[in-house]
Amino acid sequence: MLTGAKPLFLLLVQSRGTKAQVGFVVVALASAWFAGMQLQGVPLVESRSVFLVSWLSAVPGLYATGLLAPPSGREATLPRMPLGMHRLCWVLGLAALPVLLMAPMVLLQDGDAWRLLWFARNHLLVLGIGLLSAALLPPSAAWAPGAAYVLFSLFLGTSDEAGTAQWWALPNHLPDQWPAWLCAVALVVCGAAMSVWRPARAS
């Protein structure tokens, strides 16, 4: 490392926009604070509801999708390692931070581990979709699959007033449903691996 030069990891973090990442922390805090277990009626369709936590938990992951693309193509010209590992660490930070922020809030509020699990699972799920689409799609389109999936799940993904989830609407599944966890973990692991080997395209 050159004397006085910033560490590579810091340069990587700065390249994704300091203000935008502060925004991520604020969004994660707000989502975690308000993500409760209340049921809300779905608009324009009769007799269907959705849990508040199922959509608020998707907010940090959606926001993070918008941060993944590097601002220029310079990153692609650098050697894959150690930059890939730094990128992996940063992505793991995006995955862990909202959950770590929520844990003390849950303890302060009601100690309900159920909604912490729900929040963590959905955050991983949406972030995983974002990581994969950022690697496979142009940055201007990478946000779309996650946003569309979350909106579809909110509007069409329940079948009754108790918020019973449709099989395909994983954000609405209760946190004790292992297929949703499996998908969330698989997506985030694949997405994180992609961030090492095939990072998001430059915007």
């Binding site: 926009g17 935008a20 925004g23 991520f24 969004v27 809300q40 779905v42 608009p43 324009l44 369709v45 009769e46 269907r48 959509w55 998707a58 907010v59 959606l62 926001y63 999708t65 918008g66 941060l67 693309a69 601002p71 974002g130 142009p138 940055p139 201007s140 389109a141 990478a142 946000w143 779309a144 996650g146 946003a147 569309a148 979350v150 909106l151 579809f152 909110l154 509007f155 069409l156 079948s159 915007s203």
Partner: protein
């Protein structure tokens, strides 16, 4: 790229419409319902259009195109905006048109009355896509990060979802006939005009702001026009059919109803839109009328159905009978039970049990099983006054 986004938005439109129909069994057989679902899909199509608009603007800013636009003589930002808007909007609306055509085919196949009435709702939904794209452009121009595109759709959906309760403003009030399956309704032209004007002023306001922000030339006139147009749009939103104004839904005239004789002095009316239920409905009402005459006598003229107007033929008694698609006979039995419960009587000692017995009796009558006149009179006397 813009056309591809438009195609994606069109595909989303078809998918949301399909999802709505899948979640409502047999509603594809009613053209009014399936066509209304095309308009109802706006609640997801508009938010995603905001995201696509924002992504277009962010891409332009990040690619440095905006600097080149500003250095160019004239107002190239207007041309860039118009071109991108047309390339995205037309394929997106194409998706809605495909859904509407599929709805018409489903209606024709199942004997529903296919009319041009739902085009009024669709026109507002389609205008709304252009407006949403332009407000997305403004969002992306002011906050040139793809996080804006990612988070914008959810925020807009939340606004459309949560705004009606506290503010009394329902931006998707034009999509609503699905709540009225047993009735034949249409959106009044005055409401359509007001909502179209609301969309156009909102689109103009957003476009003026975008030109001001991206073009940075003649900023003041652009922003001024944006403020005026947006203020007009908000006023129309609050005071028009989406807010405090009359909702604009009116019952359609006799042409939309299939009215048939179901007894000597009785008629029953069903919206032609749900013509696939006609045989079952008129047979059930014929049996129901014969039984009800044991209770109310044979003097009065009676009309069964959910029409609230006279339909050109005033009658002595209207028996309100609404319809559902999932279990029509049970629903008709509930309305006939409700009618007998409103007749003069002392209500008996146990209204719940009496209502259950009456409901069961009416179900049997409407389904064609033999029920004696004494039994009908008996359960009706028990439930009267409840």
């Amino acid at each position: 790229m813009n056309r591809r986004w438009g195609l994606a938005l069109g595909a989303v439109w078809i998918a949301v419409w399909g999802g709505l129909l899948v979640s409502r069994r047999d509603w594809w057989r009613s053209f009014a319902q399936s066509a209304d679902a095309v308009a109802t899909a706006s609640i997801l199509v508009w938010p995603l259009a905001v995201g696509f608009g924002a992504a277009q603007a962010v891409r332009l800013v990040r690619a440095g195109v905006v600097e080149r636009i500003r250095a160019w003589p004239g107002q190239p930002v207007v041309r860039v905006l118009a071109k991108a808007l047309a390339a995205t909007w037309l394929p997106a609306v194409g998706g809605g048109v495909v859904a509407l055509v599929l709805a018409a085919v489903g209606g024709l196949v199942s004997g529903s009355q296919v009319t041009a009435v739902p085009l009024r709702e669709f026109a507002i939904a389609a205008l709304g896509v252009a407006t949403a794209l332009l407000w997305g452009w403004l969002l992306g121009a002011l906050w040139p990060s793809y996080a804006a595109a990612a988070i914008g759709p959810l925020l807009v959906y939340l606004a459309l979802w949560l705004l009606p309760a506290p503010a009394g403003i329902d931006p998707v009030a034009f999509a609503g006939s699905t709540m009225l399956i047993g009735s034949a309704v249409e959106l009044q032209w005055s409401a359509v005009a007001l909502m179209a004007l609301w969309q156009l002023t909102a689109a103009l306001g957003a476009a003026a702001f975008v030109v001001g922000v991206l073009g940075r030339r003649r900023l003041l006139p652009s922003v001024g026009l944006g403020v005026v147009a947006t203020a007009a749009s908000v006023a129309l939103l609050v005071l028009g059919p989406t807010g405090r104004g009359p909702q604009g839904w009116v019952e359609r005239g006799p042409g939309a109803w299939d009215c048939r004789s179901v007894g000597e002095r009785s008629t029953a009316c069903l919206p032609r839109d749900i013509g696939f239920l006609a045989d079952e409905y008129f047979a059930a009402m014929t049996r129901g009328d014969a039984a009800l005459r044991e209770v109310i006598g044979s003097e009065d003229t009676v009309r069964y159905g959910s029409a609230t107007s006279t339909l050109g033929q005033p009658v002595d008694t209207v028996v309100f009978v609404d319809t559902t698609v999932s279990d029509p006979v049970a629903t008709w039995a509930e309305y006939l039970t409700s009618f007998t419960a409103q007749l003069p009587g002392d209500g008996g000692s146990d209204c719940f049990a009496a209502t259950d017995r009456a409901l069961e009796t009416w179900r049997e009558i409407l389904a064609g099983r033999a029920v004696s006149a004494e039994a009908v009179r008996g359960v009706s006397a028990e439930v009267a006054g409840c």
